[in-house]
């Protein structure tokens, strides 16, 4: 099929999802799709090999492109069009992919439900009263709704795996540094990771292969080849999979437990060895995350000051301080303001040691937990991705801490910089259940190979409860 035809189909699908009120897109237009398709078709007919020829990929709207606005779902960036292209999107384009749209997100990727978007919440494709998870909820919903086969999201603390789990799609967070952050609007730089959604492990892997690999524009990028899982693994013989007991609490949602139980049984049947393991510092992951991520965010978001780009408001006093206050006060939503304030506080003289420094030490302990377990010969960890299935909109917006706890099984991975993915393993009361695989640093390939085997065995759309 020509890219031109794909662009037409994609435009129609996007229009339908918009009309259905999914609210998953922040920017696209048919002319924009057609223009991209024209380029792809010309390159294809010139004989170029395009590994993602005319594959539509949605882009979370915190990844900059030169031909579309980037808002981060924030008023403060309304109307901003970047003057440069992110490495991830440049590599997608170079591979012939069609950037389908810029997708909705929690403002500056801060949230777990995509309710904190300045442009309205994203609906769960299976139940409009529920949230798709977040912060990459727009990308997750678009893949789940069948609008696009794959999408880019970003993770700081589970922002791809958690919505992937809620929406019943595959969400892959690679090892920190395997995908360049250049052009990903920074939230928590030591945690941020461009990540991938796919309908299948293979779709996600194809996209990840294209966007990964070293980038001289990102000093934290790893000098490793692109992520390229081997094909052909049929079973899990010789694979040792750990079940960290802290991830299976007694009060775990029954549907989630059922989904995991059948996955564990399937994995065992496929020949894997199952071992119980412990990650004792797990319970400190969310509090540690909510010190380090806001601290980094408070500095990362300082550049949105109304001086050079984005929205500017002149304050009542007319001086520069007043301009900062007015611009940032009006431009940032409440969750962003909360995190900037928390981050500023934990870095302040007199509090730095008690919060930021201590959090960094705990982060080290959390990473050491994983290293110790993997050091005993465990190849991968299998856990639930989320403590519950998708919750109702409005259920947690009034209580930030309960919202933060939606990420209780995903944030430790970001603190340790590890690769992890979420795989749909069934449904509970009609809502998807996700299982999480966590791999040692740089073992993204093994994780994807094992996930592909599980995917073939465990029916994702089957009710388990």
């Amino acid at each position: 099929m020509s890219a031109g035809a794909v662009a037409q189909e994609t435009g129609a699908a996007l229009a339908r999802s918009d009309a259905d009120g999914l609210n998953a897109t922040l920017y696209w237009s048919q002319e924009w799709l057609d223009a991209q398709a024209g380029v792809i078709d010309r390159r294809a007919s010139a004989g170029e090999t395009l590994p993602l020829a005319a594959i539509p990929v949605a882009l979370k709207d915190n990844i900059v492109t030169t031909d579309a606005p980037t808002t981060c779902a924030s008023r403060i960036l309304e109307g901003f069009v970047a003057s440069y292209e992110s490495t991830a999107s440049a590599r997608l384009r170079s591979a012939g992919a069609l950037i389908a749209c810029k997708s909705n997100l929690d403002e500056f990727a801060m949230g777990s439900s995509t309710e904190h978007s300045a442009f309205g919440r994203v609906r769960h494709p299976l139940d409009p009263e529920r949230v798709p998870g977040g912060s990459s909820g727009g990308s997750a919903a678009l893949v789940a709704a069948g609008v696009v086969p794959a999408a880019l999201g970003s993770e700081t603390g589970g922002s791809v795996r958690q919505p992937a789990s809620f929406c019943g799609v595959v969400g892959v967070k690679p090892t920190y540094g395997r995908v360049s952050r250049y052009g990903l609007v920074a939230f928590g730089s030591s945690l941020d990771c461009v990540s991938v959604f796919g309908r299948t492990v293979s779709d996600a892997s194809r996209v990840l292969e294209v966007i990964s690999g070293p980038d001289p524009l990102d000093a934290t990028s790893l000098d490793m080849d692109p992520v390229r899982p081997a094909a052909g693994r049929r079973d899990l013989a010789g694979v040792r999979i750990g079940l960290p007991r802290e991830y299976f609490p007694p009060d775990l949602d029954a549907g989630i437990r059922a989904g995991l139980d059948r996955t564990i049984a399937a994995v065992r049947a496929l020949g894997a060895e199952i071992v119980d393991v412990s990650l004792p510092h797990t319970r400190y992951a969310v509090p540690t995350y909510y010190i380090i991520a806001p601290a980094e965010a408070s500095a990362n978001l300082a550049r949105f000051d109304g001086v050079r780009y984005g929205q500017r408001r002149v304050g009542p006093e007319g001086d520069i301080r007043s301009l900062y206050r007015a611009t940032r006060g009006a431009g940032f939503g409440p969750e962003v303001r909360r995190r900037v304030l928390v981050g500023t506080y934990v870095l302040s003289a007199g509090y730095y040691d008690a919060y930021y420094r201590k959090a960094q030490r705990v982060r080290g302990l959390i990473a050491a937990d994983f290293a110790a377990v993997f050091g005993t010969g465990v190849d991968l960890l299998l856990t639930p991705t989320t403590p519950t299935t998708a919750f109702r909109a409005g259920e947690k917006t009034a209580d930030p801490v309960s919202m933060y706890l939606a990420d209780i099984f995903v944030s430790a991975v970001n603190l340790a910089g590890l690769p992890a993915l979420s795989l749909p393993v069934g449904r509970s009361e009609g809502l998807p259940v996700g299982a999480q695989l966590i791999a040692p640093s740089r073992r993204d390939e093994l994780m994807l190979e094992v996930a592909a085997v599980i995917e073939r065995t465990v029916p994702a759309a089957e009710d388990v409860r």
Binding site: A82, Y84, V185, A186
Partner: protein
């Protein structure tokens, strides 16, 4: 005044001499139109990331080694957070608790205290901010971000200086060293060297330090000295009239010679430093450090000593000739071309340096100068004549002897010619001749001078005397 001791420490910001900025590929060229040397990184655009400039790290390390510092094999870039329109990211990337280098020493000669060791507390790398232009658009502040991201090394001295004159003298030595390393142009005019000073006073003999103030906005070493003098006088005046020195930042006004508090509010800044997560710790190996050491030139102090001890220069000449690396290189080239070192030093500290200071270049090839020095040593030309030849060579390269001959400056030693001039002078001065013959022999100088004048400077003075003595005697 003598009741009070002044304690001064200096912070020197030096622009590292790289073609591109600290964390991006933009040019560091000075004087380009505003906001032309900018990119997503130094503009602080959303999503852009810094990548360290290896050349800046190398130059910073070389400067640190030249200042005798310990180079740390792991240092950390940190974010220094504050809002200002010319600070695009809302933070400056600097180094805080893990600087590139610490614990150096730079000696200098104090007029009062002799040889003094001044500690270098630290040298760290950072990026410069942009420039706020308050006079470009009436009633508004314009921002030029060409400087944003330009690589700097900040060098912090210990509180080891005791007078404003010492501060100036030490800065001169420091600058010599930094220029020698090639790490910076050290031009205060172009902003590649900036100096902030801290000053406090205490009763002579006290061990505890007084409250210090910081002085900024000094655009020359002379003004550093003036500003420190003004601040010392101000602080002593305050304390002697029963008031207290408050910790403030002051700006020096070169026109009035006074220091004034900055207009900004007295807020104590909390910069909320934390390690920059965009930049992994800067790791250096022993082997790399060794390469940087090897790359260092002989430094001014070592060179001065060698010029004095090995080449036999007088202390003054050894100091002057080694003060500047190109000047010292030139001197060594002249010596290598066969000139006597002391004579060469005389020339280099004289006519050569005058021309070099004026044009920044050496107009006469070292070998030509060596040849000229040889002509003077051999009595072919007088020193006076040699200086004229030098001026000619500076204008157009040529063989010194040919120039001397063309200008008729080759000294005449031919006895007949000398005798003719001597006879003419004696004939023209009968009275002096009589006095000389009457025993007033010190008049010989008078006669030599007359002969020289008559000959148009061409007579060889060494040859004239014996002829004169013979004819007068």
């Amino acid at each position: 005044m003598s009741d009070w001791e002044t304690v001064i420490g200096l912070e020197v910001h030096m622009q590292l001499r790289t073609r591109s900025k600290m964390f991006c590929a933009c040019s560091t060229a000075f004087g380009d139109p505003p906001n032309t040397n900018v990119c997503p990184v130094c503009l602080g655009l959303p999503g852009a990331l810094p990548v360290p400039n290896a050349a800046a790290i190398r130059l910073g390390a070389q400067a640190a080694l030249a200042l005798g510092c310990t180079l740390h094999h792991e240092s950390v870039f940190a974010r220094k957070n504050y809002f200002y329109p010319d600070l695009p990211k809302g933070y400056q990337i600097s180094q805080f608790d893990r600087p590139l280098a610490t614990d150096g020493t730079v000696h200098f000669d104090s007029a009062e205290r002799g040889r003094v060791a001044v500690t270098i507390q630290r040298l760290h790398l950072e990026e410069d901010a942009g420039k706020s232009l308050h006079d470009r658009v009436p009633g508004r502040t314009a921002v030029d971000l060409n400087r944003a991201g330009v690589p700097l090394a900040e060098i912090v001295s210990g509180p080891d200086l005791r007078t404003p004159a010492e501060a100036r003298a030490w800065l001169t030595v420091l600058r010599q060293i930094l220029l020698y390393t090639g790490a910076s142009d050290c031009s205060m005019e172009e902003g590649s060297l900036r100096v902030d000073a801290n000053l406090s006073i205490r009763r002579t003999g006290d061990a505890a330090l007084g409250t210090k103030t910081e002085i900024k906005n000094m655009n020359s070493f002379a003004n550093v000295e003036r500003a420190l003098e003004a601040e010392r006088t101000r602080q002593i005046g305050l304390v002697e009239s029963g008031k207290q020195v408050r910790q403030v930042t002051l700006l020096f006004d070169a026109a009035s010679g006074a220091v004034r508090p900055t207009r900004s509010k007295e807020e104590s800044h909390d910069y909320r430093y934390f390690p920059d997560p965009d930049l992994p710790p800067l790791r250096l190996t022993t082997e790399w450090e060794q390469q940087q050491r090897t790359a260092l030139p002989e430094l001014p102090e070592a060179r001065r000593r060698r010029f004095a001890d090995v080449l036999g220069l007088a202390p003054y000449h050894a100091g002057v000739v080694s003060s500047d690396r190109p000047l010292a290189d030139y001197f060594e080239a002249v010596v290598a071309a066969g000139a006597d070192p002391r004579a060469a030093a005389n020339w280099v500290a004289g006519d050569v340096m005058t021309g070099y200071n004026a044009d920044g270049a050496f107009a006469v090839e070292p070998a030509r100068l060596a040849a000229l020095i040889g002509l003077e040593r051999d009595g072919v030309v007088s020193l006076q004549a040699a200086r004229r030849v030098f001026a000619e060579l500076a204008a157009a390269d040529a063989d010194p002897r040919a120039v001397a001959e063309r200008l008729g400056l080759v000294q005449v030693r031919n006895a007949d010619a000398l005798s003719a001039w001597v006879d003419e002078v004696i004939a023209a001065h009968p009275a002096e001749t009589a006095r000389y013959r009457g025993g007033e022999t010190k008049l010989i100088g008078f006669f030599v001078g007359r002969v020289m004048k008559l000959s148009g400077g061409k007579a060889d003075p060494k040859g004239v005397q014996p002829v004169l003595k013979e004819r007068l005697g």
